[in-house]
C-alpha cells in the first residue's frame, strides 16, 4: 500500500558514484575488517540509514547529496553495534561528530573504518583524526538553504521578539525527545531530564518545562555541536530547534578560539583557556 501512496524519488545522478562505495564496503566486509557497515539506502521519500552485515546487501548502498542524516549517532548505540568492528559512510557533519566523539572518548578509531565520498565523487578512507580534520578544512560546508531565511529573521528580532518567537514555538513541543535520539552527542546513559534527585527539569510538557529542556540541550551542546541539524530534522512538529544549537555554534565561534566551522578538534570551548581566545564577551 505504502508504495502506492508515497511517490518514490528517482535516483539522482549521485547514484553513479555509489558503485565505488559499494565496492569498498564489499571489500571491507569480505576481508572481515568490518563486521557491520552503516550507510544510506534508498528510502520511500529520502535515503534512510541501513545496517549491512553481509556482502549480499552492499548493493543497497547509496551516497549522494540527499544523504544528510547524521549516521554518527549510531556509533555510540551499543545495542546496535555491540563490540563489532564498524564501517561508516560519513557525511560532512557526521565527520565533525566523529571527531567530537573521539575527543569525548566514546569511540575508538581502531574499531572503526570511516569513509566519505568527496565532491569529486571519490571514496575517501580516513586513517587518522588529522586526516579527517584536514578533509573538513578543505571540503565545502554543505549549506541548508531553507534555514537561511529564518536565521535572518531571528537575527533581525529584538530580544523580546525572539523570546516571544521561541516561547510560541517551544510551547508546541510534547517532549518526544526525537531531537535527543537523533543527536550523536546525546549519548549519556542518564539524560539530565531523567535526573530526578533533584528534578532539575520538570518532566511534563508545558511551555516552561519545554524551554527548560531546550535551553539545557543547547547548553549541553556548547562547544560540542557539529551543527548538522539532525535535531531539527527529527522533530515531528518541524520546530526549528536546530537553530538553537546553531546559534550556540555561532557564539562559540565568535567568542572562543574554537572554530567549529573548521573542525571540531580536541578542545573544549568552556573548559580550556587558550591565549588566542577572543574573549569578546569581556567588556
Amino acid at each position: 500500500m505504502e508504495d502506492v501512496l508515497i511517490e518514490k524519488k528517482p535516483a539522482i545522478a549521485g547514484n553513479s558514484f555509489s558503485g565505488e562505495l559499494q565496492k569498498t564496503a564489499n571489500e571491507l566486509l569480505q576481508s572481515g575488517e568490518v563486521e557491520l557497515f552503516i550507510g544510506y539506502e534508498e528510502g520511500t521519500r529520502f535515503p534512510r540509514p541501513c545496517f549491512i552485515a553481509s556482502t549480499d546487501e552492499v548493493g543497497k548502498l547509496i551516497f549522494d547529496d540527499r544523504c544528510t542524516g547524521n549516521l554518527a549517532v549510531y556509533l555510540t548505540r551499543k545495542d546496535l553495534i555491540g563490540d563489532k568492528k564498524v564501517g561508516i559512510t560519513a557525511s560532512y557533519f557526521a565527520l565533525r561528530s566523529i571527531l567530537r566523539l573521539l575527543t569525548e572518548h566514546q569511540i575508538q578509531l581502531d574499531k572503526l573504518v570511516v569513509l566519505t565520498v568527496s565532491a569529486e565523487k571519490e571514496v575517501i578512507r580516513f586513517a587518522t583524526t588529522d586526516d579527517i580534520t584536514a578533509y573538513l578544512q578543505t571540503a565545502p560546508i554543505p549549506v541548508r538553504e531553507d534555514d537561511k531565511a529564518l536565521i535572518e529573521k531571528l537575527n533581525a528580532m529584538s530580544r523580546e521578539e525572539r523570546w516571544e518567537f521561541w516561547s510560541a514555538e517551544l510551547s508546541k513541543c510534547f517532549k518526544c525527545y526525537a531531537c535527543r535520539a537523533a543527536c550523536p552527542m546525546c549519548y549519556c546513559t542518564k539524560c539530565i531530564v531523567e535526573e530526578n534527585r533533584p528534578q532539575w527539569i520538570q518532566p511534563w510538557a508545558s511551555t516552561l518545562a519545554n524551554i527548560e529542556w531546550h535551553i539545557n540541550r543547547a547548553m549541553h551542546m556548547t562547544g560540542r555541536c557539529a551543527d548538522c541539524g539532525a535535531c531539527g530534522a527529527a522533530c515531528p512538529l518541524g520546530l526549528p530547534i536546530h537553530l538553537l544549537s546553531h546559534q550556540i555554534v555561532q557564539e562559540v565561534t565568535d567568542n572562543f578560539a574554537l572554530d567549529v566551522n573548521q573542525a571540531v578538534s580536541g578542545d573544549n570551548a568552556l573548559s580550556t583557556f587558550k591565549p588566542e581566545d577572543k574573549e569578546n564577551f569581556i567588556k
Binding site: 569525548e104 566514546q106 549519556c188 539530565i192 535526573e195 533533584p198 573548559s271
Partner: protein
C-alpha cells in the same frame, strides 16, 4: 524523620540590633522537621555551645542549624561542639544571619523575614546532609624553594636547619640574586657580598639542601603536602662532576663581548662564563645563544683547553620530578631599565644609569673595581644627579606604587659617591624622603648633613646632552617651583622596582594569584603575609612587592616557619567536601559516560580514569574518578557534568536544590 535543632545567635547586638532573633527562633520552631529552636546572646560562647550539646543529647537531634555569623568564622567551632555531643560534625550547618542579613539591612520587618528565609533554606539543606568523615592525607616533608636570592637562601637555610629537606631552584647559573650585585647595604654600609657569600656557601654545603642552578620550575601538580614538581635543568653544556672550576675555558673563550648580566651591561663576559667570582656553584655554563660553536658550528676552544674533559656540547635540557610538600616562592624583582624613560633619553645616554648599574660601579667587584667612572669615557664624574621615584609613584607611567627601597639606596649612592669622589658634587631630586626603619632616617640625615649631599625636592622634567654634559632640568618645589638646571656628568635614576619577567607565567603554573603589577598576592595583607591563596605555597621577598633586605629576610624566615610548622605533622586533615562520581546498580554501574569533559575542566587535575571490571577482569566501563587528595571541592566538574554523575559531598545538587526550593515553595 528529621529532628533538626535551630539555634539563633544574637551575636551580642550584631544580629539582634536589626533582626528579631526571638521571632526567628519561634518561626523556625514551626518549620517541618524542626524539633527544637531557641535563641541565645552568644551561641559561640561556652554556655551557648553547651546549649547545643545538651539539645543534641536530650532531643536526639539529627541535624543542627546555627543562625549566626559567617561559617568562615565559627563553623569549625559549632561542628566541633556537635561532634563532642555525638553528632557527625557535617550534620551541622551555619546560616549567616550577620554578614548576609543584619549587617547589611536596616531594622525592619523584612530583615527579620529574610533571616527566617535564610534559616529555612539551611533547615531544608540539613535534612539532606549525610554524615561525612574528614580525609587524612600524608605529607611529603620536602620543601621546594624557587629562587636563590637572599629570600630563597634565608628560607632554605631556616627550613634545612630545622631538619627538613629542601630543594632550591635558581634560574641563573649562580645563586645570590640581586643582593650579590650590591656594593654596600644601608643603613650600615657593610659590604653586601661579605655578608651574603657565606650564606651562599652554606646553602651549597648544607646536607639538607639540594641545589639546582640554571633550572626552572616547569610544572607543578598536586596540593598541599603532596605536590609534584617538574624541574627543567637547563643544559649547562658542562659536566659539573668533572669540572673543577679552574676557569681555563672562561679565560680562553674567544667570544668576549657579551654584556654581563651581573654587571648590568656595564662589563663584558665570555660565552662560557661564571657570572661572578664568588658564584655558587663556581662552575661555568655555556650561554648557547652567544656561543660561536652553537651558532656557527665550529670553535670548541673551551673543549680543547679543558683539562678534565668536562665540556659536553650535546647535553640536552633534563627534566626531573620531585615530590614536594610545600613551596616557597622567592623569585624576587627587577628594576626598570633606563630605556623606559623618554624624558631621560630613552636609555641612549651612556652615563644615565639605573641604581642597580650604579651599585656595580660602586662595587669593588664591579667593572671599575669600585671607582666611580663614567661608562662613556672612563672619567670620574665631578657632578652627579640622583633622581628618586623614576617611574615609581607615577600613575601616568602605570606604576602608582612606591618602590620602597629607592629613598634609602639613593641616599646610600650619594654617600658612597661623596666618599669616593671627595671633590664631587651630588644632587638628589626627590618627592618625599621615606626613611621608615631602624636607623634609616639617621642614615639619610647623615648623607645630607655630614656628607653634604644636596637634596632638592622636585621632579626632573628632562635630561639632554650638551657638550658632553647632561643638562638636568627640574624644579625646586620648596623654593616655589623655582626652575633648577644642573650640568651633570652622570645621572642615576632610582628606577621603579617591578616584577620579574615570567612572574605571571610562574603564577599561572602554580595557580597562585598576583596583582595588577604581576607581584604575587599574599593570602591576607595583614594576617597572612607569607601565605598565598593556594594552600602549601608560601612567598617571601620582593616577588610580593619591592622590599629591602631586612624585611625580605624576616619574611623568608616567616615563610620558613610556616613550612616547618606544616612539616611538624605527619598527616594533614582535610575537609571531606569533595566531588565524588556516583555508582549505581548493574548494568549501569555509574551514570558517568566517561566523556572526561570534567577532566578538562578540573583546575586541580583531580580527575582520574577508573575501569569498572567484571568478575572475569574484562573492562565493562571506563568512568571518571575523583582523587580525594587533589580535589578542592570547587564544583566545576559538577557544573560540567551533563548527566550529573558527579556531585559534591556536603554541597550536593540535592542539597542546593532543597535550599532553593525552600524559598520557592512559599
Amino acid at each position: 524523620m528529621s529532628k533538626i535543632g535551630v539555634f539563633i545567635c544574637h551575636c551580642g547586638e550584631n544580629i539582634s540590633a536589626t533582626v528579631d532573633c526571638e521571632r526567628v527562633a519561634a518561626e523556625a520552631g514551626k518549620m517541618d522537621g524542626v524539633e527544637f529552636a531557641t535563641d541565645y546572646k552568644y551561641m559561640c560562647s561556652d554556655p551557648g555551645q553547651t546549649l547545643i550539646k545538651n539539645a543534641i543529647k536530650e532531643k536526639g537531634l539529627t541535624g543542627v542549624v546555627v543562625g549566626a555569623c559567617s561559617p568562615r568564622m565559627h563553623e569549625p567551632t559549632f561542628r566541633k561542639a556537635c561532634a563532642e555531643a555525638g553528632l557527625n560534625p557535617y550534620l551541622c550547618e551555619m546560616s549567616n544571619l550577620r554578614e548576609h542579613c543584619s549587617w547589611v539591612h536596616e531594622k525592619n520587618e523584612q530583615t527579620t523575614e529574610k533571616a527566617i528565609d535564610l534559616v529555612k533554606m539551611l533547615v531544608e539543606k540539613v535534612k539532606k546532609n549525610k554524615p561525612l568523615n574528614a580525609i587524612k592525607v600524608p605529607i611529603t616533608k620536602k620543601a621546594l624553594v624557587i629562587g636563590g636570592g637572599i629570600a630563597g637562601i634565608q628560607a632554605a637555610l631556616d627550613i634545612a636547619n630545622a631538619g627538613q629537606q629542601v630543594i632550591m631552584v635558581e634560574k641563573e647559573p649562580s645563586i645570590g640574586g640581586h643582593m650579590s650585585q650590591l656594593s654596600e647595604t644601608f643603613p650600615t654600609l657593610d659590604c653586601s657580598q661579605c655578608i651574603l657569600t657565606p650564606r651562599m656557601v652554606e646553602v651549597a654545603q648544607h646536607p639538607n639542601i639540594t641545589l639546582y642552578t640554571y633550572a626552572e620550575l616547569e610544572h607543578l601538580d598536586g596540593f598541599i603536602g603532596n605536590f609534584k614538581a617538574t624541574i627543567r635543568l637547563k643544559a649547562k653544556s658542562v659536566d659539573y662532576k668533572l669540572c673543577t672550576g679552574c676557569g681555563a675555558c672562561t679565560t680562553k673563550c674567544p667570544n668576549k663581548k657579551i654584556p654581563s648580566e651581573f654587571n648590568e651591561g656595564l662589563g663584558m663576559r665570555t660565552a662560557i662564563y661564571t657570572p661572578f667570582p664568588q658564584a655558587v656553584p663556581n662552575k661555568p655554563v655555556i650561554d648557547r645563544a652567544n656561543c660561536t660553536y652553537y651558532q656557527k658550528g665550529k670553535c670548541k676552544v673551551c673543549e680543547k683547553v679543558c683539562p678534565t674533559g668536562a665540556i659536553q656540547y650535546d647535553l640536552p635540557d633534563q627534566f626531573i620530578t620531585e615530590d614536594i610538600g610545600a613551596v616557597v616562592i622567592a623569585t624576587g624583582f627587577n628594576v626598570l631599565k633606563t630605556d623606559f624613560f623618554p624624558e631621560y633619553g630613552y636609555g641612549k645616554y651612556a652615563d644615565v644609569l639605573t641604581g642597580l648599574q650604579f651599585e656595580r660601579l660602586a662595587s669593588a667587584s664591579g667593572p671599575t673595581l669600585g671607582e666611580i667612572r663614567r661608562p662613556s669615557d672612563g672619567k670620574v664624574p665631578k657632578k652627579i644627579v640622583f633622581i628618586a621615584c623614576s617611574g615609581s609613584r607615577d600613575p601616568a607611567k602605570g606604576i602608582p606604587y612606591c618602590s620602597k627601597i629607592c629613598c634609602m639606596y639613593t641616599a646610600k649612592h650619594a654617600m658612597l659617591y661623596q666618599h669616593k669622589v671627595h671633590d664631587g658634587e651630588s644632587y638628589v631630586f626627590y618627592m618625599d624622603i621615606r626613611a621608615g626603619g631602624k636607623n634609616y632616617e639617621e642614615f639619610v640625615r647623615r648623607a645630607i648633613e655630614d656628607d653634604g649631599v644636596n637634596y632638592i625636592r622636585g621632579r626632573v622634567a628632562r635630561i639632554y646632552e650638551k657638550d658632553g654634559k647632561y643638562i638636568v632640568k627640574g624644579a625646586d618645589t620648596l623654593l616655589g617651583s623655582k626652575p633648577v638646571e644642573i650640568e651633570a656628568d652622570m645621572v642615576v635614576l632610582a628606577t621603579a622596582g617591578v616584577s620579574n619577567p615570567g612572574a605571571e607565567e610562574l603564577a599561572q603554573k602554580m595557580h597562585v594569584s598576583y596583582d595588577a603589577y604581576k607581584f604575587f598576592a599574599e593570602a591576607h595583607p595583614k594576617l597572612k603575609p607569607v601565605e598565598t591563596n593556594t594552600a602549601g605555597i608560601f612567598l617571601c621577598g620582593a616577588c610580593q612587592a619591592p622590599k629591602d633586605i631586612p624585611e625580605t629576610v624576616g619574611m623568608a624566615s616567616g615563610a620558613a616557619a610556616k613550612v616547618i610548622g606544616l612539616f611538624s605533622n605527619n598527616e594533614l586533615t582535610r575537609e571531606p567536601l569533595i566531588a565524588v562520581v556516583n555508582r549505581s546498580a548493574p548494568p549501569v554501574f555509574s551514570t558517568c559516560v566517561g566523556c572526561f569533559m570534567c577532566q578538562t575542566a578540573c583546575p586541580y587535575n583531580a580527575i582520574e580514569r577508573e575501569e569498572i571490571k567484571g568478575r572475569d577482569g574484562s573492562v565493562i566501563k571506563t568512568v571518571a574518578k575523583v582523587n580525594p587528595g587533589l580535589c578542592q571541592g570547587c564544583g566545576t566538574c559538577v557544573a560540567f557534568c551533563r548527566s550529573k554523575a558527579i556531585d559534591i559531598q556536603g554541597f550536593s545538587n540535592e542539597q542546593m536544590f532543597a535550599e532553593v526550593m525552600a524559598l520557592m515553595n512559599e
